[in-house]
C-alpha cells in the first residue's frame, strides 16, 4: 500500500482483448480492487492456515482458498 503497485496499467492492458485505455482515476480504483482482493485472500488464507494450526501461511493454504476467492471476486 505504501508502495505503488507497479505497472498495473500495463497488466490490464495486456489482459484486455481489445485496445482499450485506462484512465488514471480508474487506475487508482483498480489498485484499490487489487488491494481489496489481496486482503481478503490473505485473510482467508490466514484462517485456513490457522485451522491447520499452523502459524505460517503456506502455499497449499493459499491454493485452497484462492479458488473460492476468485469465484467471489468476479462481476
Amino acid at each position: 500500500m505504501l508502495n505503488k503497485a507497479p505497472k498495473l496499467k500495463s497488466i490490464i492492458k495486456t489482459k484486455t482483448k481489445s485496445n482499450i485505455n485506462v484512465k488514471p482515476t480508474a487506475e487508482a480504483m483498480i489498485e484499490l480492487l487489487t488491494l481489496l482482493f489481496l486482503s481478503n485472500l490473505a485473510e482467508e488464507a490466514k484462517t485456513n492456515a490457522f485451522e491447520e494450526k499452523s502459524a505460517r501461511i503456506r502455499a497449499h493454504n493459499v491454493k485452497a482458498v484462492s479458488k473460492k476467492m476468485l469465484k467471489k471476486a468476479r462481476g
Binding site: 503497485a5 505497472k7 484499490l32
Partner: protein
C-alpha cells in the same frame, strides 16, 4: 312526501323549499330529456325561478309550466311520464288536481299546488329514474322497478310509464325489453335477434334520447307495433347510425355466431361491434401474414397471429410461418455454425425439400462465411445427410444436394463446395464405410474429432471416410464435426468424400453419384475394385484438389479405400493403393476397424505419397488431404494454416498432410504417422513406406479417437515421424511428447521439425492463438530445417510468445504479508501469482465489458466502481469513499475524492 294530505303550512312550505331547488334541475333535465320546448321552458322557468321572488309567483309559474309540460309530456313518449310517474310515486295522484288549483291564491292552495306539482317536477325523479335506468345493467330489474314507478305515476299515461321503465332500463340495451314490460316480450325480441335491424334499432334507439324511449313507452301497450313504428321514426333519425351499425353489426353477428351467440341484445351489440372490429383487423392481417410468410418476414406473422386467431387463416399461416421460420433459421444457422446445427436438425425433419432449400441457402451463405457458414451449412447438410442416410431417404436428397453442391462447389466457391461436399461426403462416407465396417468407428471418430479438436475432427472424418467404415451416421457426424470446427471447406470436402463413399456402399448410390464423382468413385472402389472408384475418385480428387476440394478426394480415397488411390496415382505408385486409400481414410476417418489400419493408413499415406510420387493423383490427393489437414489445422489455429498450406503447393502437401494428420490426430498416435506421410510421400516411391506412413497416419487419426494408439505405434514405422509432426501440431501437450519420441525414433521422414513445430504450435495454442500461429508458420518454414528437436523449438516458441504480465514479487509478497499479519512462507508466491493472474484476467474482462457497454474506449472510474459494487465490496453500508480512504495512498485519494481548497477551488476539477 305524502304531504298532499298534510296541508299544514309548514309542511307545504317545506315542500316548496325542498322542491324549489329541485325545480331547476328538473326543468333542465326535463327539458333535455324532452323536446326542446321543454328546455326552453325550463330555461324560462329557471330564469323565472331566479327572478321569482314571491313564492306565489314561483308557484304560479311552476304550475303553469307543469301544465304545459304535462301536456307535452303526454304527447311525447315517456321519459317525462316516467319522471312524472316517479314523482308521482312520492305523491299521490293529485298532480292533475293540483293543476286545477291554479287559481287559488291562498297560500295553502298554492302550497298544495306546489306540492302537487312536485310530481310534475318529476324531472328530478325522472332524472333519477333515468339515471338509474341506464345504470341498471339488467333490463329486467330495471323494468320491474320501472314498472312500479310507472304504475304509480298517475299523471301520465301509464302506458308511457310502462314503456319508460322498460326502455329506460334497457337504455343501453335493446329497446325491446324496455318496451315490453313482459319478459316474454323481451324474449320475443331476443328471438328476433336475427333481426339485426331491430337490434340496431334498439341500439340506435337506446342511444337516442330518452324521448325516443318515451315514445316507445307509449307503445308499450302494443309494444311491438309501437316500437317498430317508433323505430321507424327513430330509424329515420338513427338511419345513419344504423347503417354503420348494421355493417358492423352484421360482421359482429357473424362473429357472434362464430364465437358463440350472445343472446342478449346488449351483449350482442357489444360483441358484434367488437367482433366487427376484429374481423376487419383479421382481414387486414391475413394478407399481411401471407406476404410476410412469403417474404420470410415472420415478424409480422407472429404479430398478426393473435389477430387472426379466430380465423382459420391462422392454421394456414402456421405452416407458412414454420417454413419461414425454418428458412430464417437456416439463414441464421449458417451464420452461426453451432446454432445451425440444432435448427437444421429441426428443420430437417420437417421437410426434406426444405433441406435442399436450406442447403442452397446454406451454400450461399457458406460461401460468404467460410468458417461459420461452412460449418453450419456442412453441419446442417451433414446432419441432414446423416439423418437421411439413416433413414435412407435423406441421403438421396442429400446426395442430390451434395451432387449439386459438389458440382457447384467446384465451380463456385470452394468453401461452399467443401461444405457441401462434406455433407455429401459424409453421406457417402457412411455408405462407403460399410466396407471397412468402420462406419461406426468413423462416425465416432468424427464425433470425437469434433469434441477433441476441430483438427482432429478433420482427420477423423478423413480417416473415417477412408476406412469407410459403415459409420454412415457417425461418419457424417464426424464430418460435420470436423467441418464445423474448421472451415467447413476442407473438412467437408474430405468428409464428404469419405462419407459419400461409405454412403454409396451402404446402398445409396444416388447420393454417391449425385454427390460427386469422387464420392461415387470412392464407394465403388472401396468394395469392388478400388480401381473404378479410384479412377473416379482420382478424377474427383483432381477436381477437388484443383478446386480445393481436397476433402473430396480424400474422402474418395477413403471411400475407394484401396482402389482409388492407385488409379489416381496412375501407376500404383502408391503400390499400396490401399495405402493411399488408407491414407485417405486415415485422414478422413480414423476408423481403425477393418480397413482403417491398413486402408486408412495406406490411403492416407498413399494419398500423401501418391501425390508426391505421382504428383498427379497422389499429389492431388495428398495435397487435398494436406490441404484439408492444413485447413483443419488452420481452423483450429485460426485459418492461417490454410493459406500457408496452399502456398506451399504440392510439395508442401505432404507436409501439410502430415500436419493435418498430426493436427487431426490431435495427439493420437495416428498423428505421427501422418506427419510422416507427407515426408514419406516424398521419399517413398513405393507404397511400402507409404503404407507405413499411411498406417501411421491412420493410426494417428484413430488415435485421436484414442483407441488406436497401438496401431499407430506399430504402424508408425516410417510415418511415425510424420505423424508425430502432424500430431504434434494437432495435439496439445499430451500426445506431442509421445509422438515426438516416436517420430524421432522411427522415422526417416523429413518433417520432424515441422511436426515438432506443429506440436509446439498446438501446445502453445492454449496459451495464445498468435503464438500458435507463429508456431505453425515457423514450423512450416522449419520444415526445411530438419528437426531441431521439438523441445528446443518449444522453448523457443514459448519465450517470445508468452506474455508475462504479473506483479513484481516484492510488491506482491509485501502486500500479502501486510494483510496476512502472520508469517507467510515464501513458497506461496507462485500460487499467489497464478491467482492474481486469473484475477486480473477477470477484472480486465469485466472492465472492458463495462466500458464497452458504455460505448467508451477507455476504462473509467465509473466502470471500476460498478465492478466494486457488483462484487460486493461497496454497498449501502460501505461507500466507496471509505474504501478509498482506507486502502489508497494520498496521491490516489487526491485523484478520486474531491478536496476543497481555498478560494473555492475543488481538486480535482469536477466536470459535473
Amino acid at each position: 312526501m305524502d304531504p298532499t294530505e298534510d296541508l299544514s303550512a309548514r309542511l307545504l312550505l317545506k315542500n316548496i323549499l325542498s322542491t324549489e331547488p329541485l325545480r331547476t334541475p328538473i326543468t333542465r333535465s326535463a327539458s333535455k330529456a324532452q323536446s326542446p320546448s321543454g328546455k326552453r321552458r325550463s330555461s324560462r322557468l329557471s330564469k323565472k325561478d331566479a327572478g321569482a321572488q314571491t313564492p306565489q309567483e314561483i308557484m304560479r309559474r311552476s304550475m303553469k309550466h307543469k301544465l304545459r309540460e304535462s301536456i307535452t309530456r303526454k304527447s311525447l313518449p315517456a321519459t317525462t311520464s316516467r319522471m312524472t310517474t316517479s314523482g308521482l310515486l312520492r305523491k299521490t295522484t293529485p298532480g292533475l288536481t293540483s293543476m286545477l288549483f291554479d287559481d287559488d291564491d291562498t297560500p295553502r292552495h298554492l302550497l298544495r299546488r306546489i306540492l302537487q306539482t312536485e310530481p310534475v317536477r318529476s324531472p328530478v325523479v325522472h332524472n333519477k329514474a333515468e339515471s338509474e335506468e341506464p345504470g341498471s345493467s339488467s333490463a329486467n330489474s330495471s323494468i320491474s322497478s320501472k314498472c312500479s314507478s310507472i304504475e304509480l305515476s298517475g299523471l301520465d299515461l301509464p302506458d308511457l310509464t310502462l314503456g319508460n321503465p322498460g326502455t329506460v332500463a334497457k337504455g343501453l340495451s335493446r329497446k325491446r325489453p324496455r318496451r315490453s314490460l313482459n319478459v316474454t316480450a323481451f324474449e320475443k325480441r331476443l328471438k328476433h335477434a336475427s333481426d339485426f335491424q331491430e337490434e340496431h334499432e334498439e341500439s340506435a334507439e337506446n342511444y337516442s334520447s330518452l324521448s325516443l324511449s318515451s315514445s316507445t313507452s307509449l307503445s308499450l301497450k302494443t309494444p311491438f307495433v309501437d316500437v317498430r313504428s317508433e323505430k321507424r321514426g327513430l330509424q329515420r333519425r338513427a338511419s345513419n347510425r344504423r347503417k354503420i351499425t348494421e355493417e358492423e353489426f352484421g360482421a359482429a353477428v357473424n362473429k357472434q355466431w362464430m364465437g358463440g351467440d350472445h343472446v342478449k341484445g346488449v351483449e350482442l351489440n357489444h360483441s358484434t361491434y367488437s367482433d366487427g372490429f376484429t374481423l376487419g383487423l383479421s382481414e387486414l392481417c391475413e394478407p399481411n401474414i401471407t406476404t410476410d410468410i412469403i417474404n420470410c418476414n415472420t415478424a409480422l406473422y407472429t404479430q398478426s397471429d393473435p389477430m387472426a386467431s379466430t380465423l382459420s387463416i391462422m392454421a394456414t399461416q402456421d405452416k407458412d410461418t414454420v417454413m419461414a421460420t425454418q428458412l430464417q433459421r437456416q439463414m441464421s444457422e449458417q451464420e452461426q455454425s453451432k446454432l445451425g446445427k440444432d435448427e437444421t436438425e429441426f428443420v430437417f425433419p420437417t421437410e426434406v425439400g426444405v433441406m435442399e432449400e436450406l442447403q442452397n441457402e446454406q451454400c450461399v451463405p457458406e460461401g460468404q462465411l467460410k468458417e461459420e457458414v461452412g460449418t453450419a451449412g456442412s453441419q446442417s447438410d451433414e446432419e441432414e445427410a446423416e439423418s437421411q442416410s439413416v433413414k435412407g431417404d435423406g441421403e438421396d436428397t442429400g446426395a442430390d444436394d451434395s451432387q449439386s453442391e459438389k458440382e457447384g462447389a467446384d465451380d463456385s466457391q470452394s468453401e461452399e463446395d467443401k461444405i457441401r461436399s462434406q455433407s455429401e461426403e459424409e453421406e457417402a462416407e457412411p455408405q462407403s464405410e460399410k466396407e471397412g465396417a468402420d462406419d461406426s468407428q468413423s462416425g465416432e471418430d468424427k464425433v470425437r474429432s469434433q469434441s477433441e479438436e476441430e483438427e482432429e475432427a478433420e482427420t477423423q472424418s478423413e480417416k473415417g471416410d477412408e476406412e469407410e467404415g459403415p459409420d454412415d451416421f457417425k461418419s457424417g457426424e464426424d464430418v460435420e464435426a470436423g467441418s464445423q470446427s474448421e472451415e467447413a471447406e476442407t473438412q467437408s470436402e474430405k468428409g464428404d468424400e469419405e462419407e459419400g463413399q461409405d454412403d454409396f456402399k451402404s446402398g445409396e448410390d444416388v447420393e454417391a453419384g449425385s454427390q460427386s464423382e469422387e464420392e461415387e468413385a470412392e464407394p465403388q472402389s472401396e468394395k469392388e475394385g478400388a480401381d473404378d472408384s479410384q479412377s473416379g475418385e482420382d478424377e474427383v480428387r483432381s477436381q477437388s484438389e484443383e478446386e480445393k476440394e481436397e476433402a473430396e478426394t480424400i474422402s474418395e480415397k477413403g471411400d475407394g479405400e484401396e482402389g482409388p488411390d492407385d488409379s489416381q496415382s496412375g501407376g500404383d505408385v502408391e503400390a499400396g493403393s490401399q495405402s493411399e486409400e488408407l491414407g485417405d481414410d486415415g485422414e478422413d476417418y480414423q476408423h481403425d476397424q477393418e480397413d482403417p489400419d491398413t486402408n486408412s493408413q495406406s490411403e492416407d499415406k498413399d494419398m500423401a505419397e501418391s501425390r508426391d510420387e505421382d504428383e498427379d493423383e497422389e499429389g492431388k490427393q495428398a495435397s487435398e488431404q494436406l490441404e484439408h489437414i492444413s485447413r483443419r489445422a488452420h481452423h483450429s489455429q485460426g485459418g492461417l494454416v490454410v493459406p500457408f498450406v496452399t502456398e506451399r503447393g504440392r510439395s508442401r502437401v505432404h507436409s501439410a498432410g502430415g500436419v493435418h494428420i498430426s493436427l487431426e490426430a490431435g495427439g493420437s498416435d495416428g498423428s505421427p504417422p501422418r506427419s510422416g506421410t507427407p515426408d514419406v510421400q516424398e521419399s517413398l516411391t513405393s507404397g511400402t513406406e507409404a503404407v507405413d506412413c499411411v498406417a501411421d497416419g491412420e493410426n494417428s487419426f484413430h488415435l485421436e479417437m484414442t483407441h488406436d494408439i497401438e496401431e499407430g505405434s506399430h504402424l508408425s514405422d516410417a510415418p511415425p515421424e510424420e505423424e508425430a509432426a502432424a500430431s504434434a501440431a494437432v495435439d496439445p501437450v499430451e500426445q506431442e511428447e509421445e509422438w515426438e519420441d516416436e517420430e524421432t525414433e522411427e522415422f526417416p521422414c523429413k518433417t520432424p521439425a515441422f511436426v515438432k513445430e506443429k506440436r509446439n504450435f498446438f501446445f502453445r495454442e492454449h496459451e495464445t492463438s498468435p503464438s500458435v500461429l507463429k508456431n505453425i508458420q515457423t514450423s512450416r518454414t522449419g520444415e526445411a530445417v530438419p528437426a531441431a528437436k521439438p523441445k528446443k523449438v518449444q522453448k523457443k516458441t514459448r519465450g517470445p510468445t508468452k506474455k508475462q504480465a504479473c506483479l513484481p514479487k516484492s510488491y506482491l509478497m509485501s502486500v500479502f504479508r501486510h494483510f496476512a499479519k502472520t508469517k507467510v512462507s515464501p513458497d506461496v508466491y507462485p500460487v499467489l501469482q497464478e491467482t492474481m493472474d486469473q484475477f486480473f484476467d477477470r477484472m480486465a474482462e469485466d472492465l472492458e465489458t463495462y466500458a464497452h457497454h458504455a460505448k467508451r474506449k477507455t476504462i473509467d472510474y465509473e466502470d471500476v466502481l460498478l465492478l466494486l459494487k457488483r462484487i460486493g465490496y461497496v454497498n449501502d453500508k460501505v461507500p466507496v469513499e471509505v474504501l478509498i480512504e482506507k486502502y489508497l495512498r494520498m496521491d490516489q485519494r487526491r485523484l478520486l475524492i474531491p478536496i476543497a481548497t481555498s478560494g473555492n477551488v475543488v481538486v480535482p476539477r469536477q466536470r459535473r
